[in-house]
Structure formats: C-alpha cells, structure tokens
Symmetry: C2
Subunit: 154 residues, 2 copies
C-alpha cells in the first residue's frame, strides 16, 4: 500500500489536457473530495484526501479520507462498517478536487445518522441575517449514531 | 448587498441539528462549494465561497464564488455569460461545505470549454504510479474558451 507516485505538476496545458495524474495538494497536503451516491446521484458528503488516502482509494476501490479534525487517515466505515465502494473516480480540470461515485454500504454516510450530510436547505432570495431559518430536507435519521459509532465518528 | 450576518458558531449540537446558518469558514475565510447540474445531477464544478460570495448567492439566487487564484470575488458568468441560477442550496452537517444545484446558462461551466470540470476518470484497482493514465470522459468541448473568455477565465 505504500508505493505510490503521482506525477509532478507541470504546465497548465499538461495539467488540464494531459493524461497524467498530478494532484494539486493544498498547504495542508489535501485535495477536496466530493462523494456522490452512485444510485441516486445525490451528494453524500464532502471530505478531504491526503496523498495516502487518495492512493489507497485508487488501489483498493474503497473510499479513504483524511480527517482534518482528527488529523488522521480514515478508512470510511472502519468504525461503522458503512464502507463506500467506488464505482468511478474523476479529477477536475486543475486537479485539486476529486469526485467519487460510491455504493454506500449500510444506511448512511453521515455521522449524524442520516443518509447524507446535506440534510438542511438554505432559503434563497433575501440577504442572510439572524432571521434566516434552515429547512430540514431528507433529514430522517437512518441509523442511531451513538449505537454505531460510540464516541468515535466516521 | 452588504448587509449580511451569519450566526455565531455554537455548540456541536446547535451546528448539526439547529436551524441557524453558522458557516465554518477556514483559515482563508472560505467554505467549499459543490455545484451540480439541476437537470442531470452531475457535478459541474467544485469551488469556494467567502462570506460575501455566500451572502450574494443566497440573496441573488445566482452563483457567486471566491477565486483563490485571483483572490477576488467572482460572479459566475461575469465574463462568459454562463451564469448559474441556483435552484436549491444545502449546507452540510458541520457547515463547512455547501451544495448548490444550478441551472447552467450557456454550454458549460468549465473554463476549459467543457460542460463540467470532471472530464477525466482515474483508473482504479492498482497503486498509482507513473504508468497511471487518465481516461477522458464527457470531455467534448462545448465551447471555445479563447473566444468566450479571452485571457480571463471564469
């Protein structure tokens, strides 16, 4: 698992139009990852990958992330068993974001117990102020996070 | 446009289960934004919003971003006329990422001339090395970026 080499970042033309994987890791060594449900197409979660998480995801076909809060490599589902099998990985034009489509094992991806992390809508059309009220959507709990995670979320 | 107030970040319970918008801006003052096509469901792009971009998007119902490379507030389509009308905005559990569904005006969202930024797939199942070859998918050019943008991309 420890042998992986990404390409060096070259000229813009090579990064955008080339066939070499040359990820642009940020100052913290991370790229953004958008994870969508291969079945429904909805966004399940947004997380980050460091080089090792990206390499392990590519090699294993299961989603690995890097937890910014825990500062640790993180195999999705290692605690919950809610693993994510990657059906497709895409990289964006400037190679600082990846999009994975996954088959989500178990009832959900979100540590709050929902299917997905985006269970609240922001009302549009007015300047946001203290009166703005989020609307819960697709927010039913799919599992009991305390039972699944105990004190540790993934 | 200059009057907006987001809620203060409170306890985890309030952030995750509450109805107040309390975005978690990072050290650079940004949240991540995933933009999907309201019609196809596919991911068009991943970008960032600072507080003003987020507020303007909420107020106007059109996508505003903050360009990290240009360090500037950025109304999507200001150069290209490829504006994005937001049909729904969601915020995630810990409120550091937003997901907008948009009606994309014009032929595409990507500055390279494609419909979307994720036009290359990463092959799975092997440790990445120099032999890894990205596969172009949904990569047809939808417009001529030089004609649309000149020297300036949005």
């Amino acid at each position: 698992m420890n042998t992986y080499t990404f390409s060096e970042r070259g000229a813009t033309e090579a990064i955008e139009e080339g066939r070499a994987l040359a990820p642009k890791f940020d100052a913290d060594g991370l790229v953004t990852c958008v994870t969508t449900d291969a079945a429904s197409g909805g966004v399940l979660m947004v997380a980050h990958m460091n080089a090792e998480a990206l390499a392990r995801t590519i090699e294993s076909g299961e989603a690995w992330y890097f937890s910014r809060s825990r500062r640790a490599l993180w195999r999705k589902g290692e605690t919950s068993s809610h693993v994510q099998r990657v059906t497709e990985m895409r990289i964006d034009c400037d190679q600082d974001a990846v999009w994975i489509k996954v088959e989500q094992a178990g009832p959900g991806a979100c540590h709050t117990g929902r299917r997905a992390c985006f269970y609240r809508a922001v009302p549009l059309g007015k300047a946001p102020d203290a009166a703005l009220v989020l609307e819960f959507r697709d927010a039913d709990k799919a599992f009991d996070p305390a039972a699944v995670y105990g004190a540790k979320a993934d």
